[in-house]
Structures are given as structure tokens and as C-alpha cells.
Symmetry: C3
Subunit: 210 residues, 3 copies
């Protein structure tokens, strides 16, 4: 029951991430294939990097067809319906917050199930959740959005830490998974609503002197 | 006999890919080392990423000296002979189409030999063939060429799908390998000759309104 | 005794690399989290990529908390003290040369201990030492500094080759490690002092004609 729900959420998150990737691809004037590649990148690449780092190879998206198929179908839809989707961007952002929660909890749990300690669980959760977006931005010739603005990766990190803490407190896995996921989603939605940002450091000395 | 031929083709493809990498390095005004690194990146890095993802670690280029040596020698040659090579660019492009075919078929076959399913075979073929070029473009601060233009990755993808289909039809491995390789090469050459491009999506709504 | 020293040097190198990453983050006007991510990237990501390629997964920084903690603490310090640190940049550069030596020797030794041959040892040493910096530059939307200027990666490569040669000559591991490390550090410091650069190739023919 638990794992079936997770699987549904996983595919849901993949599709949402793929939508954000494909829309970025359309904006960047990529061709048909490029849009699909961007859908796959954001939908699957974070998980691929995570699986490489935790040693869960061959990576999940190579073994299970549904992730790739979900991304391709999403990419095709977005290619033809981009303006329609962009008009509903608010809904996409809300779903994206859910995806962020799902992927972080999934990554942390996967690392745990392989016997990896707390640090690795946090890393695996965050990289799985934000890695695809970072690659998308690198391919778009942009500084990764998660580094410069928005309370996005921060929500994922805080959530992953909570997953580790709840786990130490012997909270059962399905409950821990749900709490982590919901917490990250709510945190992300609040951050969007209240425009929460992290502080930026003072410019370094030599640049100020100019 | 079969595997000897593949090995020869593999080194051939590596050298050609290394040439395109090194020429890009010279164009970018990289120093001697940078040119060699670009040769190695395009010649070996696609295969490295592929091997990490399918779990074939340590990666092939760490185990077999010849790939690295081939790339270094190529890089040195290109460093001193870049203008001469650029004058023969048409030949390089034809060889590059062969390399694209070889690497796609190699990657798909390698994934298959590790017991990975069809999706993983397609992924492994394509990533091994175009991954090095993507990294080269990222290091050059460019949007990866395969995403914006040219029927390049597309030829690799279609070829990898054909490999999987022929495999399902129980076509013998050496024959399948050869068909896939030749098909991709011919497809790529035709695409170059007839300037085949994939369509680009309409701009998304909000940008049109500006 | 030997391995304790290596561990101390490893953490030292991680902190120094994290400092250079975090300072870059501050310069790029990243937020608090971004600065810490840059510290982690330069401090840990080179080793992560290396571990993936040599098949030592889960990667070391996922298993041992101290690397991550060292990077985070470093990032926090740099965030608040960036001007002070930039004023002491000369010391940082000297420490960075030591870090380059430590990481190259560490990577080569780790590959060797996994039974990987000479080429893999050189690759593993160099990628572990310069990989984090390359990623930092890619995330900053810059052509990786090691490709265009400075005798930095070159020092690492020459050192890794020396490690392999000494190993063939049956020099004992701790001695080999120390020689490699000191050699790279001295080479790097000399290169900085005497402004040693590698040559750049002539522009390719067609660009000259313009």
C-alpha cells in the first residue's frame, strides 16, 4: 500500500518536473528533440546523479520504463501546448512544490535503505530533488536558479534534515516519509507566498574599493 | 573477429571525437593542456558517464590505456595542425557520423550485456554517443549544440531504438550492431546533406504578448 | 600513523577548497545557501565524481560526516568574513597548492588500492583534485579556469604521472604519497611565482582569414 502510493507520487513528481523542463526548453527555442531532452533532464537526471553517488546502479530510470515514457509524453504535450500550460503556471508551481517534497523524501529513504548514514541521506534527498533543475540551468547557460534566488533547495535541505531526525526518533518509515513530504511542500508554498529569500553576503572587500 | 572489429571502430570513433573536441579547444583559445583535455572530454567522457549510469565501474577508459593515449596523441596533433585539419572539415564530419553510429551501437550493446532492459539500452547508447559533446559545449559556455540544432542526437536515438527492435526480433548481435551503426551513419550523413532539422515550438504565450 | 596524517591533510585540503568555493559564491552574489553549496561543491564534488568513476560507491563524502560538516562550517565563516579572507588571499593560494597536492595523491592512491591501473590512477588523481573547481566554474557560467589559464591542472597531471612512475619503481606507498604531494605543491607555487603558462595554439585558418 505504502510503496504503491510512493510510486504514484514518484511518477506524478516526474511529470511535473518534466513539464517545468519542457517549458524551459520551449522558452530557449530548442527543437522538438531538445524539448523532450529537457523534460527527461529535469524529470530523471536528478535521480540518475543520486543513484550514481549512492551506488544504486544501473540507475532507476534505466530499469523502469515508466519514468522515461512519462517524460517523453510530457515533452510532446508541452511542445504543442506550451502557451496553454504557461497560462496555468500557478498550478504548475504548486505541483512542483509537491514534487520537491516527494523527491527529497524518496532520495533520503533510498539512501537509508542502502544502509547509508544521515549525511548521505540528506545529500541523496537534496541532489535527487534539485539536481535535474541544476542540469537544466547549466544546459541553458544560466547560473543554477537554486543558487541565486528562491527558497527552493533550502526547503529540500530542511526537509531532509527533518527526515533524518524523525528517523533517529524511530518514527515509522511511511509516517516519516509523509511528514517530510508534506513539510517540504508546505514550506515551499509558504516561501513562494511570502517571498522568503535567504540573505546575500556583503560584497568582498576589493570589489567594494573600486 | 567481431569484437576485434568493434575495438578498431571504437578507437577510430574515439580519435574522431577527440579531433572535434581538440579543434573546439583551439577555437576557444585554450592552452596546450586545455586542448588535450577537450580531446579527452569529447573522446572519453560520454562513455564515462554511460558507464557510471549503467554501473560498469571502474569506467572503461580508466581500465584500458588506449583510449586515453589515443585522445592525447590526437590532441597534440590538433594543437599543432589545427588550420590544416579545419581545411579538411568535410572529411571530419563524415568520420564523425561514423563515430556517432559506432558509439551508439556500442553503448546499447554494453547495456544489454549487463542485463539492462530496452530503455536503458537506448539511454546508454545515446548518452555514450552524445554525452562528450554536451560536456564540451557546457565547458565552452554554450548551450549544447545537440539541443538547439542539427539532426545529430536524433539520429543516435532512432538508431538505438532500431537496435532494441532488431534485438527483440532475435537478430544476431554482430549483425544488429552493424545494421545499427550503418543506419545511424547514413541517417546522419543524409541529414547533413539535405539540412534536415527538427521543428521548433511556438514561443510561449507571455513572450508573444510583449 | 600514515593514514591518520592523510586524513588530517584530507580535511585540511577540503577546508581550503571549500574556502575558494565559498569566496567565489560570495563574489557571484549567491545567497547564504548558495555560498554553502559552492563550498561543498569545490570541497567535495571532485571526490564524488572520482568515486563514481572508479566505482567506490557510495561516495566517500556520503559515508563520512566530517567532509560535509567541514564544508558547511567553512561556508558559514566565509559568508560573514569574506572581505577579511580576501585580504589574506596569498595565504589561501599557498594552502590551495597544498590541497591540490593532497587530493591528487589521495585520488591516485585510492584508485590503486582498488586495483585500477596507471591510467585510471592518473585520471582519478586529477579529477579528484580539479573536478570541484571545474563544477564551480560551470555553475558560475564561466569557462573552467583550469582550461584557459594557469599552470594548475598541469601540476596535478605531472604529479599523478610521477606517482605512477614511483609506484612502478616499488617506492613504498607513504613515501610515494609524500613525494607526489610535495612535488605538486612546490610545482604549483613555482608556477604562481614565475607566472608559468602553457602555450596557446595559433587561431585556426578560417578565423584568421576574416
Amino acid at each position: 500500500m505504502h510503496s504503491e502510493w510512493i510510486y504514484v507520487l514518484d511518477i506524478f513528481g516526474t511529470v511535473i518536473f518534466a513539464i517545468t523542463g519542457a517549458v524551459k526548453g520551449v522558452r530557449n527555442r530548442l527543437d522538438f528533440l531538445g524539448v523532450i531532452v529537457f523534460a527527461i533532464t529535469v524529470g530523471c537526471a536528478g535521480g540518475m546523479v543520486r543513484d550514481c553517488l549512492i551506488g544504486a546502479t544501473p540507475v532507476a530510470s534505466f530499469l523502469n520504463t515508466s519514468y522515461l515514457v512519462a517524460c517523453i509524453i510530457t515533452g510532446v504535450f508541452v511542445f504543442f501546448l506550451a502557451p496553454w500550460i504557461v497560462g496555468r503556471w500557478r498550478i504548475i508551481l504548486i505541483c512542483d512544490a509537491i514534487g520537491l517534497g516527494v523527491f527529497t523524501a524518496l532520495g533520503a529513504e533510498k539512501a537509508m535503505s542502502l544502509g547509508i548514514g544521515p549525511v548521505g541521506q540528506i545529500f541523496a534527498g537534496v541532489i535527487g530533488a534539485v539536481g535535474g533543475g541544476v542540469l537544466r540551468d547549466v544546459f541553458s547557460k544560466e547560473v543554477p536558479a537554486v543558487l541565486t534566488s528562491d527558497f527552493y533547495a533550502s526547503a529540500s535541505i530542511i526537509g531532509a534534515v527533518i527526515f533524518v531526525i524523525l528517523n533517529k526518533l524511530n518514527v515509522q518509515e511511511p509516517i516519516n516519509f509523509t511528514i517530510t513530504m508534506v513539510f517540504i511542500t508546505v514550506l515551499r508554498l509558504c516561501a513562494m507566498h511570502y517571498h522568503i529569500h535567504l540573505p546575500v553576503a556583503r560584497m568582498v572587500g576589493e570589489e567594494k574599493r573600486k
